[in-house]
């Protein structure tokens, strides 16, 4: 038998408790950061002042065009030089969050652009202060429109989180690599890690597709 069942049963509990916990922390932490920071970036990008909107646009474009892995290196290696010391996991969450914020900013922007013009005009007609127009009229509608796309990015962040294992985070993939290197046998741990991602990502994307359809009607 090529597949070692005894070893599988030995490592499975660790992967599903210790590894899972870190993967979930990285995903949720990264997603919260991406969703919040993305909204701010989207608003800054829409600013009428060119000296704000242009640089923000350029930086988000740059981050989207370069690999997450290299950005993770930057956060992991360079920040400590400036006296900022963090755990690898925190570093990874910041890397994931900032990278995906540049994607979600674009999602929010499309959501804001999709709010009908009449809504803005009605807010003006009602003499609503500008910040209330944003907070109570535009953003609630824009965010609702953005939800399915944000959901897709949540799944994307989850699937990219194994990259954190490269900067020594011991998530599901990090643990699988560690276990594999102990015996120099990667078949079982990496297959389990792969199945684990499949089992979560596929139902999640089906759920998001349903949400998309419901919001369309």
């Amino acid at each position: 038998m090529i597949w070692d069942w005894d070893w599988t049963l030995e490592i499975l509990p660790d992967l599903l408790t210790q590894g899972l916990l870190v993967t979930v922390q990285a995903t949720l932490g990264g997603a919260v950061l991406a969703f919040v920071l993305g909204l701010f970036l989207a608003l800054l990008r829409r600013s009428r002042r060119a000296y704000i909107s242009r640089p923000v646009g350029a930086v988000t474009e740059f981050i989207r065009s370069t690999p997450l892995l290299v950005q993770l290196f930057v956060v992991y290696y360079v920040l400590p030089d400036f006296g900022v010391s963090m755990t690898a996991l925190t570093t990874g969450i910041i890397g994931l969050g900032v990278h995906y914020a540049c994607y979600t900013a674009e999602v929010y922007r499309a959501g804001i652009d999709g709010v009908p013009k009449g809504q803005w005009e009605a807010a003006v007609a009602l003499n609503l202060p500008r910040h209330w127009t944003w907070l109570s009229v535009v953003l609630p509608q824009a965010v609702r429109r953005s939800l399915p796309a944000l959901g897709n990015y949540l799944v994307a962040i989850f699937k990219e989180s194994p990259q954190l294992s490269v900067i020594t985070v011991v998530d599901v993939m990090g643990l699988a690599r560690e276990l594999g290197s102990e015996r120099f046998r990667y078949l079982e741990p990496v297959t389990i890690a792969g199945l684990f991602f499949l089992l979560i990502a596929i139902p999640a994307s089906i759920l998001i597709r349903r949400m998309e359809r419901r919001l369309d009607h």
Partner: protein
């Protein structure tokens, strides 16, 4: 005026120290991007067209493929192909081969969704007209449907190719000596981190920009082939999931 070789060792300071290595890495990055995109585009066309088939079983196979490769991360797939598959099958791919295959299989799954969407977005009247003109199914696809679908495919394909370029950096994890690998090696051997990382990011950015320029040209050509003006639009942002 003398020309300056951007990869030369005679450049001042960290530049001269890093650029020769980074250039060597950049070549490997370009090669893997090229190899990966050839496989990805081939898979995207075949599986994407399968997904529009009338036969349920053919559609099912395409769907299963797409869901499988979009459901796990590239890094896991890469590790599996390089470290796990040899144990199971006894066949060991070399690292660049495994890397390019993983890139192609993964991005091909995303590309299939793009091809499927673009083919299905061609107005049904076009297909009916081709049937009325007694075109064979092959002619229908080759001369009527694909040329039109192709125009719609290019912008999301642009995003996917940039995604592919960025993903090649993961090949460094299985010790392919690409740009990310060389950069990390330089940093570990004591070169100025900030300079090396900045150079790496700029090189990746330039490659992304090159892809965008190339794809804009392709889009213009494709639009003219079916008698349309090149649509004026900015590069749309979402890449990973948003390519559909």
């Amino acid at each position: 005026m003398t020309t300056i070789n951007p990869c030369g060792a005679e450049l001042p300071g960290t530049l001269g120290e890093a650029m020769p290595f980074l250039c060597r890495g950049a070549v490997v990055t370009l090669q893997s991007t090229l190899g990966g995109s050839v496989i990805a585009i081939a898979i995207a066309l075949v599986v994407g067209l399968m997904a529009t088939s009338r036969l349920r079983s053919v559609r099912g196979v395409a769907r299963a493929y797409m869901e499988f490769f979009r459901g796990t991360s590239v890094l896991v797939q890469l590790f599996w192909l390089f470290y796990a598959m040899p144990i199971l099958t006894g066949y060991q791919l070399d690292k660049v081969g495994a890397g390019i295959l993983a890139l192609g299989l993964n991005l091909g799954a995303y590309g299939s969704e793009v091809v499927r969407g673009a083919v299905q977005a061609v107005p049904p009247g076009q297909r009916e007209a081709a049937v009325a003109l007694n075109f064979t199914p092959y002619q229908r696809m080759r001369y009527v449907i694909l040329p039109q679908a192709f125009v719609a495919m290019v912008p999301p394909m642009n995003n996917l190719l940039i995604e592919l370029l960025k993903t090649t950096s993961l090949l460094s994890v299985i010790t392919v000596t690409d740009l990310a690998y060389q950069g990390r090696l330089l940093v570990n051997s004591g070169s100025d981190q900030l300079v090396v990382f900045a150079l790496m990011l700029v090189i990746y950015f330039l490659f992304s920009y090159l892809i965008t320029l190339l794809m804009r040209y392709v889009e213009g050509r494709a639009a003219r082939v079916v008698g349309r003006e090149r649509p004026r639009r900015r590069r749309s942002a979402p890449a990973v999931e948003g390519a559909r």
